[in-house]
Structure formats: structure tokens, C-alpha cells
């Protein structure tokens, strides 16, 4: 089996995680797909339920997918009471991806999740901070420092800060590390848009780009950041095959996430893991 991996205090059976937002809460996936992976990172969770964005929520680009789901989720209460118990029973460590509109939202979510048996948090900072006039947390290294520092006092275990790939990424990464983040997830989707000209008036779709198209960009980011920070980096961006994963591992990532590939084929994580086994044995 592919070696286990340590992300600070968090030990994973293997370096493959299911990326946030790309496997629902596992309701419609066979158990065998979910139980073999290194960790499950949940869909983004907010305190209150969110209905998400109106359609269209998806469009396709050359080798890429643009999504604007709008962080639809059932909110903390439903998640903790109805969803989390089932996820925890699956086996792999569960990492809960959280987001909020203010620092306080994050703190309250972390407190609420403290006694639930989850393995850690992934802190999504790509969302807008309403107190800062809607500027994303990820645009504001000092804000990220305060957010992360604040979190460390309510959440003492493993958590990763999920970076946005745009904005002052390096400054944000360093701020998160200095403030006490245990790992960085590098990175979220890229601001993108598509235009559908096939209708009378052009239909614009704004969202985040994922998939193979972004791999060379996020790979570069992981490479650069791994030379700047000491905490482990979890790579996320366009990983479709074991080779993609190995590329990330070879430039400094400690673990990696599979996202869009699951949407194309939920068997992808299992295939990647078994190919990875073979490749690592060959070395």
C-alpha cells in the first residue's frame, strides 16, 4: 500500500484526499470508494444553511470546468446531527471544510466541531469577508493572520488553510504559517468565466476554474510555496492520474486532493491510489 503520511499531528493512511465539494457528502457514492482514501474533506460548511447560486452553475472550458455552486450546504446543525455521524462511520479521517463571512463565523464553527471526532479542519479563505466590504479573506494577509491566530485558540488540533491561487498568495501563506496553521491546501479554483454566444444575447458565467487546465499553474504555486514555508502542503488542482499526483509530490507537496476527476469518474481516487502504489514500488 502507498505509504502513510504525516501532516504534523495528523496521520493519514495514504496521501490522497477527496477534495471539498466534489463528492457531495458521499450519499451517492459506493462505500468502497470512500473507505480506501487517506482523508475525506467535506463540502464547505457554514453556520447557516445556504441555498447556493441560481443556474447555470457549471460550464466547460478547454480541459477545465467552471463552477459557481455558491457554497450550497445544509448548515452546521444539519451537518453535525445528520451527516457527520455517517461520514465518521466510513473509516477515513474526516476533515471539515469551513467558511464564513466573518472571523467569528469561523470560530463558532470550529467550536461547534470541537467535540465531534473529526480529524481536522480545512479553512476556506476564498470567501468574502463582509466586515471588510466583501473583499475575500485571501486578499488580505493581515486578516488571514488574525483569522488563523484566532482559530488556534478555539481549535487546538490539525487544520489546513486552503489558499486561493490569486491575490498575494505568498504573503497569505506566510501569514497563515506564522499564525499557526498546521498545513496549507494549495489551492482553490481560479477566477474564470465563460461566455455562451449560442443564444441571442451572450450568457456570461462567472465561477472558479478547476481540472487539468489549472494543473501547470497550481503545480508552480506548490513548487514556489514549498520553498517558502515549512508546514506541509496539500496539493489540489487538476489531479487526474497518479502521474499528476507524483508531479505534485516531486515538487514538494506532502499530500494531495482529487476533485474534478471524481466528477468525471468516482473510481478515479481508487485508480490513482493503485497506480501510485505501482509507481512508488518502481522507484
Amino acid at each position: 500500500m502507498t505509504n502513510s503520511v504525516e501532516l504534523g499531528e495528523l496521520k493519514l493512511p495514504n496521501p490522497l484526499m477527496l477534495a471539498s465539494g466534489t463528492w457531495g457528502f458521499g450519499e451517492t457514492l459506493p462505500r468502497k470508494i470512500l473507505s480506501s482514501v487517506g482523508a475525506l474533506v467535506t463540502k464547505g460548511l457554514s453556520l447557516e444553511p445556504r441555498t447556493g447560486n441560481p443556474p447555470p452553475r457549471l460550464s466547460e472550458t478547454p480541459c477545465g470546468l467552471v463552477n459557481s455552486i455558491g457554497l450550497e450546504n445544509p448548515g452546521f446543525e444539519v451537518f453535525r446531527n445528520r451527516i457527520l455521524p455517517r461520514l465518521l462511520a466510513l473509516g477515513p479521517p474526516v476533515i471539515v471544510n469551513i467558511f464564513g463571512e466573518s472571523e467569528d463565523d469561523f470560530f463558532r464553527l470550529a467550536e461547534g466541531l470541537a467535540e465531534t471526532g473529526i480529524a481536522g479542519l480545512e479553512v476556506n479563505i476564498s470567501c468574502p469577508n463582509v466586515k471588510k466590504g466583501g473583499i475575500a479573506f485571501a486578499r488580505d494577509p493581515e486578516g488571514v493572520f488574525r483569522l488563523v491566530r484566532g482559530l488556534t485558540s478555539v481549535w487546538e488540533r490539525f487544520f489546513s488553510v486552503k489558499l486561493s491561487p490569486v491575490g498575494p498568495v505568498e504573503e497569505v501563506a506566510l501569514a497563515a504559517e506564522e499564525a499557526g496553521a498546521r498545513a496549507l491546501t494549495c489551492a482553490n479554483t481560479y477566477p474564470a468565466m465563460t461566455v455562451d454566444l449560442s443564444r441571442g444575447t451572450p450568457r456570461l458565467h462567472l465561477g472558479g476554474l478547476s481540472g487539468p487546465a489549472i494543473k501547470p499553474l497550481t503545480l508552480r504555486l506548490v513548487y514556489e510555496l514549498s520553498r517558502k514555508v515549512k508546514i506541509p502542503i496539500i496539493a489540489s488542482g487538476g489531479i487526474m492520474s497518479a502521474r499528476d499526483a507524483l508531479e505534485y509530490l516531486s515538487v514538494g507537496a506532502r499530500a494531495f486532493q482529487v476533485g474534478t476527476a471524481i466528477l468525471i469518474d468516482p473510481e478515479a481516487p481508487r485508480n490513482i491510489l493503485s497506480e501510485l502504489d505501482v509507481a512508488l514500488k518502481d522507484r
Partner: protein
């Protein structure tokens, strides 16, 4: 995804193809109204598999009836017999089977695809049904001979080249005034047609199911990407709560 051998493929009308695949696992599970996702190319452009209704099923084979539209269907149309495509499914909720009374199937254009399978199953269950099929012109009606053998069929063409002249929705309005009303309608076709059928169903108090289309990524409830607006607020996922949904569930004016 599983590899499925292409048993045959032919262009049944200009730009429309009938594809026969060998896929025992999926064929045995499939029920009418469900769909599969197909990848018929190497490389990552197009990135996403394409969703297609299951047109017919027999033993370990399934058929897809599809229109060539963009790159994905163009590539699919170039696949030769003996080659392999990648398949996953079946996905989505099957069409409902009424406990009693008759069903009207209302199809527009290539929306006729899932009704061949459905008609066969309705027949097996001895559920009476009528078939309404609309298209722009006579030449756009697909697999007409086969269709006629399936059961009672009424045609509408916009140019009057065959059957009733006008929209299929006008035709069913006429029929609803003349005949025993069905216990249920199931419609598949372009969004404008679907919302018109939905309105008719509600006006006549007939439970009506609309087989929706939406751009899909996962096709299985993972990404929340294929939503349409729910009438009472929020969204429903076409791939999971659909593709056929009760017309009263959806905001008909928001279909597109």
C-alpha cells in the same frame, strides 16, 4: 466508468445517430428515463463525459439515440463498431409507472429518445399509453417506422409536412378536449415545450413529469451543478431528483 464495445452505429437521419453498445451491467440495471454518461475520446478536451438517455435496452445491449451538436457528439459520431467507449450509469430516477389509467408520452425532437425504452416497459406492464411526437418538419422525425410499431402515435410538425400542423403542445390541447384524459403525462423535449406541457398538465389537473436537461458534470448528485429552480424555493438536481420531475416541483418560467 466501464469500457463498452460499440456493436454498431448508424446515422438514422442527417445529424442523428443510433449507437448500440454492449454493456451488460448497465443494461441489466437500466430503467426507462435513466441516462448514462459517455466518453468517446482520449485526451481531456472535452473534459466531461456527455449524458444521454437510454434509448432502448435488450439483453446486454443498450442503445443511444443522439443528435450531433458540438465537439463531444461529433467525436462520438466518429466511433466505429468494435471500438470502445467509456460508460457510466445508469443515473437518475426512472420515469414513473402509473398504478392505473393511461399515460401520454409527449416528445419534441430528439427528446423522443428515452420513450422507446419507456413504451416497451409500459407495454410489458399493460399500461395503456398514447404517443405524441412533434418536430419542425417530417424529416426531423426520428425512427418513425419503429415508433409507429410501438403503439398509438400522433405526429405534429411545425410546417405541416406530416400529421397535425403546429406544435405538439397545441396537438395535445386539442386531444385533451376530444379524448379520455390520461392519468399522467411524461414529456421530453426542448425547455419551451416542457414548460408548455407543464402548464397544460396543471390547467387540466393531470400529473405531469418533465424530463429536464441541464449541463451536468457528475450526473450523480456529487457537484450540485445541474440544478433548476424549485417552485417553492431552492433547487433540485436534475441528475438525482430528475431527469423527470413533477412539473409542479419546478419553476416553469425559469427553464432554459
Amino acid at each position: 466508468m466501464i469500457g463498452a464495445r460499440v456493436v454498431s452505429q448508424r446515422e438514422v437521419s442527417p445529424g442523428y445517430f443510433l449507437l448500440k453498445l454492449e454493456a451488460p451491467e448497465i443494461a441489466h440495471q437500466a430503467r426507462p428515463g435513466q441516462f448514462v454518461k459517455i466518453t468517446a475520446w482520449e485526451g481531456r478536451d472535452p473534459l466531461l463525459p456527455r449524458p444521454f438517455s437510454i434509448h432502448e435496452v435488450k439483453d446486454s445491449h443498450l442503445w443511444i439515440l443522439y443528435q450531433r451538436r458540438g465537439l463531444g457528439t461529433k467525436l462520438l459520431s466518429k466511433i466505429h463498431r468494435g471500438e470502445t467507449v467509456w460508460l457510466s450509469g445508469p443515473f437518475g430516477r426512472p420515469f414513473p409507472l402509473p398504478e392505473e389509467g393511461s399515460v401520454w408520452l409527449v416528445a419534441g425532437g430528439v427528446g423522443v429518445a428515452p420513450f422507446f425504452f419507456y413504451a416497451g416497459v409500459l407495454r410489458t406492464h399493460n399500461i395503456p399509453f398514447r404517443f405524441f411526437y412533434g418536430a419542425r418538419s417530417k424529416g426531423d422525425l426520428l425512427r418513425l417506422k419503429h415508433l409507429q410499431s410501438l403503439g398509438k402515435l400522433r405526429i405534429a410538425t411545425e410546417d405541416g409536412s406530416l400529421g397535425y400542423q403546429g406544435f405538439v403542445t397545441d396537438l395535445i390541447k386539442v386531444q385533451l378536449e376530444q379524448e379520455d384524459r390520461p392519468k399522467m403525462m411524461v414529456a421530453c423535449g426542448p425547455p419551451g415545450m416542457l414548460s408548455a406541457v407543464g402548464q397544460i398538465g396543471e390547467a387540466y389537473g393531470i400529473p405531469t413529469y418533465l424530463s429536464l436537461e441541464a449541463f451536468m458534470a457528475c450526473g450523480q448528485g456529487l457537484c450540485l451543478g445541474c440544478v433548476v429552480q424549485r417552485r417553492r424555493g431552492g433547487y433540485l438536481r436534475v441528475c438525482l431528483e430528475g431527469p423527470a420531475v413533477d412539473s409542479r416541483e419546478v419553476a416553469l418560467d425559469k427553464l432554459s
